[in-house]
Structure formats: structure tokens, C-alpha cells
Amino acid sequence: MSAPHRHPSGGHRVAVTGIGLKSPAGHTLDQVYAAVLAGRSAATRVERLVEADLPVHFACLVPEFDPEAYLGRREVRQIDRPAQLLLCAADDALTDAALPAGVPRERIGVQIGTGIGGLSSMEAATAGYVDRPRDLPVHTVPRTMANSPACRVALRHGFQGVCTTYSSACASGGTALGEAARRIRHGELDVAVAGGVDAAVSTVVMGAFARMRALSLRNDQPALASRPFDADRDGFVMGEGAAVLVLERWESARARGARIHGEIAGYAENCDAFHIAAPHEDGEVAARCMQRAVADAGLSLADIGHISAHGTSTVPGDRAEARAVARCYRGQSPPVTAVKGVTGHLIGAAGALAAALALHGAARGLVPPIANLHRSPEADLVDLVHGAPRPVAPAPVLVNAFGFGGQNACLVLTPPA
């Protein structure tokens, strides 16, 4: 290992000191990790989707909770569901981090990814007011703008450092964590509240994804619908939620005796530049992204203990990703898991949720199995964990987050030594 407080790049190392989740599989990291270990899918039938005459009748929704345990009723009335989920997850992450008083407010930033942003809220505004625009609620713009969730976090806590909303489709959560880590690494921020959010289980968004044939239509068995890498997959399962990590300079976290979940050690991004929605089927660009993320962490591919795949349960996506991993590892891949079989696809929150779970699994040395995976056409390319959790030695984990537009974001997270 290099000097303990310095990243191989010469910049600051980045510690993860807080994790907060509002996810379909639970509201705490322990709950969600337990569900993923058990392969318990969170997908359920959603009556309003049936009533809206959508071809897809199910999704993974965040279990009901009382937002007023976190937020005032006044604030709740002014924000949409993505902002609400993000604010609550951020509160939990900050409670977990227990930052000391006295960190200058301008040194704390908010870095959030979202794929769909406020489109579902604008969909509701459109449905309600397209014929009477003069009656639109005054808060329509601040409620629906894409940067509203991130800025609400900054506003609530008075964080005056850089506040950025990233939109790289389903890679957004990975982008936000990686960019946040870079800002700490390069000295722009001391602390970042970083992660992703999306809540788009709405008629138009679901209908639009369904029109692309991207969503599973397994209406009779929702719990079996999300099955990454399985031969019988037929599309992804829409999920909603928020995942927030508190990142800070490693040396500051150590000095204050914070509980450190681990480190964001490596990050890389690139773009397939091939098709607006489909991944390049040879996986070559995605493979390069993974290699660069590992190199960024100052590691070699052999140092990676397991991979948390993007694995959405679509044939083109899973196949291209398996080929990308196989390209990197020449058929000798480390164990590969994918959490979306349990959580569904949280779109802009997916990469951040996967990163939190991957770090937890890496620290415990237990890789969750891919839910609903029985038989895979990609089994000869990569080592897919299925059936039961796989014990591994604690080691860095590679997390993939890929998105429409050819977006690739890869993170390397290292558990505490």
C-alpha cells in the first residue's frame, strides 16, 4: 500500500463514513443486504399500473414510511417523491456519518445523480393542468426541476460547497459518487453527500420504457421477473429509491475516529458512442472503463475480489456486460453478482445502491447470489454467483453502472483493512 493518507494519484484518499438508503428492499443497509443475500425480490403488483392499462403491472416500490419523521409537513408539500426519498436517505447517511460540528459549510458539497429527475412530477402537472395553465401550482418549477432533490439537501443542511446534479441515465448514481470522490481527492471539497435518486413508477415513464420492450412483462410472477443473466429474463423491473453516501477525506475521518465503511479508490467513465439506447455488444468500451477504474485505484485486475454487475435482466445489457468482463479477465473472472434481481432497477440510484451493498459485501467477505438465476447463456464467460452467497476474502470490489446513451461508469471500492 502507498502512503496511508494519499491516493495513488497523489490526491486525498476518500472514505465512506455514512450510508443512507430508501430502497424497495428496505430502509437500512442491513435490511437491504439481508434481502439481497436471501435473494428476496421486492417486486410486487402495483394496482395503479393495472388501472392505467399499462402492459407492465408491477414494480419495486419503497415500502411505506412516514416522511414526517424526517421532514416538516410544509416541506413535504413543496417537494416531489424523488426529493422526498433523497432528503430522507441523506438524513440517514448524515446521522450515520455523525460529522463533527465545525466543518465549514462551504467545504461540504452535494453530488447527486438522477436519470429521470422530475419528469414524473411534470407528467402529473401536465395531466392536471394542460387545459388550465393559469391554475398551475406556484411551486411547479421548483418541484419538478432536475436539480431540485440535490439543492433541497443543500438547503436543508446549509451545505454551500459545490452542488451538482448528474444525469447519465442508469449510470447517474455511479457518476455522482465518482465525481464526488474526485472533488475530495483534488481538494475541492472536504465532505460530499453523494448518491442517486429516481422515482418514476408513473404511467408515461413506465409506458415509454415498455414501448422499447425494455421492461419485463412477467405480470403473473413479479417476484421472478428480475433475473439478471438468467436464460429466461425478459427485461428489467422498474424500481424507485435513493441511495446516499457521505464521503470525506480519509485522514479527517481517521483523525476524528469515524466509523469508516470503506474507500472509493477508483473511478472511470466513458461512452460507447455506438447507439442511443443499446450497449455495444462486444463490450469493448465498457471493458476499457473497468480497466481504467481499477488502474485509477492503483490496483490490478487480479486485486478485485468480486464484481457487482450492472446486470439489469435485459438480454442485450447482460450479454454485453458479460462480454466486457470476459474481455478484461480472459475468461477467469472473479465472482460476479447483480443486486437488481432483488431491488429492481433504481435507474439514477442504481449505481449508488449497488456501491453501498458491494462495499458491505466486500467487507464481510460474502458475495450475494444473483436472484432468480438458474441457467445462464453467459455462464461460460463469467463466474456468476447463484443459489447461495459466496464467501470471498475481503478485497476491493468493482461496481458497474451503465446507462442508455452508451454511458459507462465504473467504481472501485475498498473495504477497511
Partner: protein, 107 residues
Amino acid sequence: MPTREELAATVRTVVSDVLGTDPEELGERTGLAEEFGIDSLELMEIGARLERTLCLRIDPDDLLSARDLGHAVDLLHARFADPATADPASRTAHAVITLTPAPGGPA
């Protein structure tokens, strides 16, 4: 025309709905700026909702200058009684609400 009591109840309901509080928590002497730190967007939303409920045009900018909720209700009530005072030129220095019939009348 609503009685002052009815008008006060309507105002309390609308304000409490926007601020996420209970109507019972709002009294005649409640100051929306001092006690709730009400912002301009909330004030405009209250004005818009009162317009819809009362079918009258309200200038939300003026709401801010009311001393308290009771004062706002008084002025609203006075305008109802004598719409002629809705003429901006007839406003007193501390006028709170401007009322003119909404286009198209009651919905």
C-alpha cells in the same frame, strides 16, 4: 357574500394547507412572516388558492403587508363589502388585498 367568520375560516384553511400546519394553529394575531417565515412562492400560492376559492382576483404582493392574519381577513372582508375599493388608486398605504371580480365570474 361570506360573513367575516366564514372568510376567516377559508383563509385559515388555505394558509394552513400551504404551510402544512393545522387551521387551529392560526389565530387572528398570527403573523405569517414573523412566525412562519413565509416565502414569496408560498404567499403567491395562498393568493392563487384564495382567488380560486373566492372567485375574486387577489394581488398576492399585497398579502405580505398585512400586519397579521386577522388584518388580512378584515381587508378581504372590506373589499367584499365594497368592491369599488379594489381600484388600486383607492388603496390605503397599508392595503393588503386587492379584489376585482375574476374573469368569467364564479366557476
